[in-house]
């Protein structure tokens, strides 16, 4: 079948076999086992370990706990009436709300009821959850006692079993980063973003999906959290990013890089703050009077908070259709833009982010 004679084939085979034998010896030495192990800082774990999944009891309470976990990790599918973007609770509270330094549920639950400046009264845990839907999920708060809230609360309660009540546990919330050595900077943040984030979240920040399911969540634009969300505060975002991003490599960015990239991320357009009063200026004064909020500032010629996510860098496919989802407030007067950006300098940092 080859047209070559059998003897010549055998000869060649023999010769080659010998060469290969030697080659393998040489290679075996060269390649073998121990190239330095590539290890990256492992995420810090708080002192408290929530009970394992296997401890969920087999009764009505257990059923609620499981439902709560399912809602937490597939929010849009299981609570569609209350969700207005493509995020899940677990997009920001990793390991289904169990991971220390990722605002775990077991860190939050023991702290409620608690007074919250955000709405000026003592909040039950369910009220706290309502805020998550309104802002982080850019949706509607489920009414108190709604099955969605009951299930989520059951899940949080389950994860907290065995924890001391009323105390702040190590690993609660997102870490509060010290002010960075240099003023946080949009341009440096853009460079960090390109190097360490765009791979997954996309150059345009719109995330990526697989088989129709979101895998890498959008960081800004119509399908992300709105201007009222905790993550739109640069200090919160920097803490989250430092501890958790890039996914699986938490703790590898410097504090400076985390502040810079958080500044970049939170200087992008996103859905309007639901507390919008009709005036960007007034909304900023009332709800964003903080150096770590970019709401109402102008970055790259875009007034943030006008509800139009037009600044998507590479022409996001979602910009057009998403714009409709968002309440379109009155355009801000030019005078306001000037007032907010008096220096007209390159879109950069919140002036005093490092005051925090």
């Amino acid at each position: 079948m080859t047209g070559r004679s059998a003897p010549s084939r055998r000869l060649a085979t023999l010769a080659i076999a010998a060469v290969i034998g030697l080659g393998m010896l040489a290679l075996g030495v060269g390649i073998s086992p121990h190239l330095a192990k590539h290890r990256i800082a492992e995420p810090a774990t708080g002192g408290f370990h929530p009970p394992p999944e296997s401890a969920i009891p087999d009764n009505e309470f257990g059923r609620q706990v499981r439902l709560g976990k399912a809602i937490f990790t597939d929010t849009g599918a299981l609570a569609p009436t209350y969700v207005g973007n493509s995020l899940r609770c677990s997009s920001c509270h990793l390991d289904a709300g169990r991971l220390a330094n990722s605002a775990p549920l077991w860190g939050a639950y023991p702290l409620y009821p608690a007074y919250r400046a955000k709405n000026g009264h003592v909040n039950t845990f369910q009220e706290r959850l309502q805020g998550c839907f309104r802002y982080s999920m850019n949706g509607k708060p489920p009414p108190l006692g709604d099955p969605v809230l009951v299930a989520l609360e059951s899940y949080a309660y389950f994860l907290t079993m065995g924890a001391p009540v009323g105390a702040k546990l190590p690993g609660q919330g997102y870490p509060k980063l010290a002010p960075p050595p240099q003023r946080p900077d949009y341009a440096r943040g853009a460079a960090v973003y390109k190097a360490s984030c765009a791979l997954c979240h996309g150059v345009d920040g719109q995330g990526q999906s697989s088989n129709g399911k979101m895998v890498f969540p959008p960081l800004w634009g119509p399908q992300s959290y709105n201007w009222g969300a905790g993550m739109s505060d640069i200090a919160n975002a920097a803490g989250f990013i430092k501890a958790n991003m890039p996914l699986s490599q938490g703790g590898t960015l410097s504090d400076q890089e985390a502040w810079d990239v958080a500044t970049y991320m939170d200087s992008q357009p996103r859905p309007q703050d639901p507390r919008f009063t009709g005036s960007i200026e007034e909304t900023r004064t009332r709800f964003h009077a903080s150096p770590t909020s970019m709401y109402g500032r102008t970055v790259n010629g875009v007034l943030l908070g006008d509800g139009r996510p037009t600044n998507l860098e590479h022409g996001s496919p979602m910009a057009a259709e998403g714009a409709a989802d968002i309440a379109s407030p009155k355009a801000a007067p030019d005078a306001l833009k000037q007032q907010i950006r008096p220096d007209g300098a390159s879109a950069s940092s919140p002036q005093t982010a490092n005051d925090r």
């Binding site: 079948m1 080859t2 047209g3 070559r4 010549s8 084939r9 060649a12 085979t13 080659i16 076999a17 060469v19 290969i20 030697l22 080659g23 393998m24 040489a26 290679l27 390649i31 086992p33 121990h34 190239l35 330095a36 192990k37 590539h38 290890r39 990256i40 492992e42 995420p43 774990t45 370990h49 999944e53 973007n85 493509s86 990793l94 390991d95 289904a96 991971l99 360490s196 791979l199 997954c200 996309g202 345009d204 719109q206 995330g207 990526q208 999906s209 697989s210 088989n211 129709g212 399911k213 979101m214 895998v215 890498f216 969540p217 959008p218 399908q223 996914l247 699986s248 490599q249 996001s316």
Partner: protein
Amino acid sequence: MTSRPAEPHAPGLQPRDGARLVTDVEGPPTGPRELGERSKSCPQRLTRRWARGAGWSLLIALAGSAHAQENTVQLSGKAIARTGVIAHGTPACASCHGMSGEGVAVQDGPRLAGLDEAYLLRQLDAFSKQARPSRAMTPVARSLTAAERRAVARYYAQLPPPPRPAATAPLVEAGRALALDGAWSVGIPPCASCHGADGRGVGSTTPALSGQAEAYLVAQLRRYQSGERRNDPLGLMRGIAGRMNRTQIRAVAAYYAAQPAGAESSAGPGR
């Protein structure tokens, strides 16, 4: 499509059935050019065959170098996949990846059908630059021109993924937990958080794992672990595999091997 002779690739080759490939082949499959190269991912038995194939390549290289120069016709991805590039001593991809790109388990040849084109191209480049050293693939990748790599990547990307593999393993359940819940206490997020809930991969960022050959998955995880494979962006897989133990590797490989490959991974914005 070209005037190349079908030789020396055995026409009766049945790469779908790896066992037959190893035992029944009459003629010598073409081996990689480098004689000292040994396929670590293919078993020894095959290696011996390849050794003979390599002998053939040598003979053909000697006898056919004139022919090689004539052969300037741009080969189609399909031709490269099915018959190789004789002039460069490139073996048919099909000999380790199957006639339909479905993978050949006994040779640790992963499935390529339906994987993302840009991902495949990135891997071929990594093989040739030794960022992903492989005794089987480095010589193959190097023997292809840039245009040939593109053509063959495009070819495999448009092939339909294979139907659900038969594999069932006792470890599958343990693997499922790691794949879907991760092992955060040792810094391993769920594989699903990067490879997608059903393991079908995300655009050119992460490859599909579902329906991939078990032995291939094990081998890749070990190579990330040892740092031998180092083409992963940001060192993500070296980090993750570095935190995995042997049991976890075996379990998660068994799990993904048992999942249906499903339709082509679809990249889209995250919603």
